[in-house]
């Protein structure tokens, strides 16, 4: 369970997160949407301790992220993260990208890591291009490798930071399919995305953020068909164009 308890964060004088409160139970998929600059990505980075926050508390399985005594490296093993621009290691092949953390962090043998990588490559439908370097893969392929790389650490949670926004339309589907499969297999997910089709299919809850606050929350139908605030209405009309 991830418990975000009233966190606030400032960059200098600018408040990026304001009293954000949210609980993600095991097996649930939460979709975060909102205009750019609303603090969605920052929120994800606070959950795995990539960004500090000044107020409030984040608990992952009861462990406090903000506590200086917490071993963040250990904590992050539990939380996979996927980025907008894929961020594959450019000097390693696809399969090496997947094998690195299990070998170095978990201390797995090469064979063990390879077996895990092969299983994941099958899962993300990338068995063909395993020895290719990221520069020689399409965006969609890179993102699927990036998902496999996160899954290789066998995380309890997965966070996605606009995983399809840098993709051409025809590649969005192949990435979403992997994400939908993951959600249906029971992965606990926190996804920043504007893909409303995806949200409809898997989201247990949708959070709408604006100016660092959670402005609306609810089920897909609730949010989509009956937005309460003008801000959400405007946002929905924009992304549905």
């Amino acid at each position: 369970m991830i418990e975000i308890k009233n966190i606030s964060k400032w960059f200098g004088d600018f408040q990026v997160l304001a009293d954000v409160d949210e609980t993600i139970n095991k097996g649930k998929a939460v979709v975060i949407c909102g205009p750019s600059g609303s603090g969605k990505s920052t929120l994800l980075r606070c959950v795995n301790g990539l960004e500090p926050f000044q107020k409030g508390e984040v608990l992952v399985d009861g462990i406090s992220v903000g506590d200086p005594k917490t071993n963040l490296y250990k904590l992050r093993e539990k939380i996979g993260m996927v980025f907008q621009r894929f961020e594959l290691y450019p000097h390693m092949t696809a399969v090496e990208n997947i094998m690195l953390a299990p070998m170095k962090v978990r201390g797995w043998s090469k064979d063990q890591a390879r077996a895990k990588a092969d299983e994941l490559l099958k899962r993300v439908d990338m068995t063909e291009r395993t020895e290719s370097y990221p520069a020689n893969l399409s965006g969609g392929q890179q993102q699927r490798i990036a998902i496999a790389r996160s899954l290789a650490m066998e995380p309890s949670y997965m966070m996605f930071d606009e995983p399809t926004s840098a993709l051409d339309p025809e590649m969005i589907k192949e990435v979403l399919e992997v994400m939908i499969e993951l959600a249906k297999a029971g992965m606990t997910m926190l996804c920043v995305t504007h893909e409303m089709g995806f949200a409809k299919e898997v989201a247990d809850e949708i959070i709408f953020m604006d100016e660092g606050r959670i402005v609306e929350r609810g089920t897909y139908d609730n949010f989509f068909n009956n937005p309460q605030t003008d801000r959400a209405k405007t946002f929905l009309s924009q992304i549905l164009d």
Partner: protein, 219 residues
């Protein structure tokens, strides 16, 4: 001109070249190794690491190399009370000096790496050192290869300065033979030719890497 002086002293001079190579090898090994860490230190958010590293780099880069060599050969023994072997003094001086230049090259290399790439590594549970060792250093190494080779060539040429503390490398040996046989043009001409050949090969390798990087645009 009488090139028989080269022929007669060829193995002696080549012995000098061998010492030049040995000194270059250790200077580069230490200079690049330390430079990787210096580059990390220059980007550190920890003031206890950042400021000492920055002071070290700025200090050494504003002192002529020859003084650094003198310092380790003449001053260190006064402080420590033990005399210094010229080869060891030269190696230490070169490592400490060249590491600041390599450090700045690595720093530039690390800065080409996006924050999110580093975040991606952290998000899989990799530590700062693991991220440095497996992500930052190899990527910076590949991206900065032409600059690193250029600096290696400069280092190789700089090792000739070790002759001031009596290290019998190529230039020193040329001058020893010259003192006996008075054939300055031939001897220093030969030494220059040897340096030229080695450095020219090095610069061609650098060029190859540069073109390779441009063509593939891989990393």
């Amino acid at each position: 001109m009488m090139f028989d002086v080269i022929v007669r002293n060829f193995s002696y001079l080549m012995g000098g070249l061998w010492i030049t190579f040995q000194l270059s090898f250790f200077a580069l090994l230490g200079g690049i190794g330390l430079g990787m860490l210096v580059g990390l230190g220059r980007l550190s958010k920890n003031p206890w690491i950042y400021y000492p590293t920055t002071i070290y780099v700025n200090l050494l880069r504003n002192i002529p190399l020859i003084l650094v060599i003198f310092w380790f050969y003449f001053v260190m023994p006064v402080i420590s009370g033990k005399s210094m072997d010229p080869f060891i003094a030269a190696v230490i001086a070169f490592v400490v000096f060249e590491a600041t230049y390599f450090g700045e090259i690595f720093r530039a290399g690390y800065q080409t790496i996006s924050k999110d790439l580093i975040a991606a590594s952290y998000s899989t549970g990799m530590s700062y050192w693991q991220t440095s060792r497996y992500i930052l250093i190899p990527i910076a190494f590949k991206r900065m290869m032409p600059s690193l080779i250029t600096q290696a060539i400069v280092t190789f040429q700089d090792t000739s300065l070790a002759f001031v503390i009596g290290l019998p490398e190529l230039v020193r040996r040329s001058s020893i033979v010259d003192n006996m046989e008075v054939r300055s043009i031939e001897l220093y001409g030969f030494a220059a030719l040897v340096y030229f050949i080695v450095c020219y090969i090095g610069s061609q390798i650098s060029l190859y890497y540069e073109n390779q990087a441009r063509k593939v645009n891989l990393i």
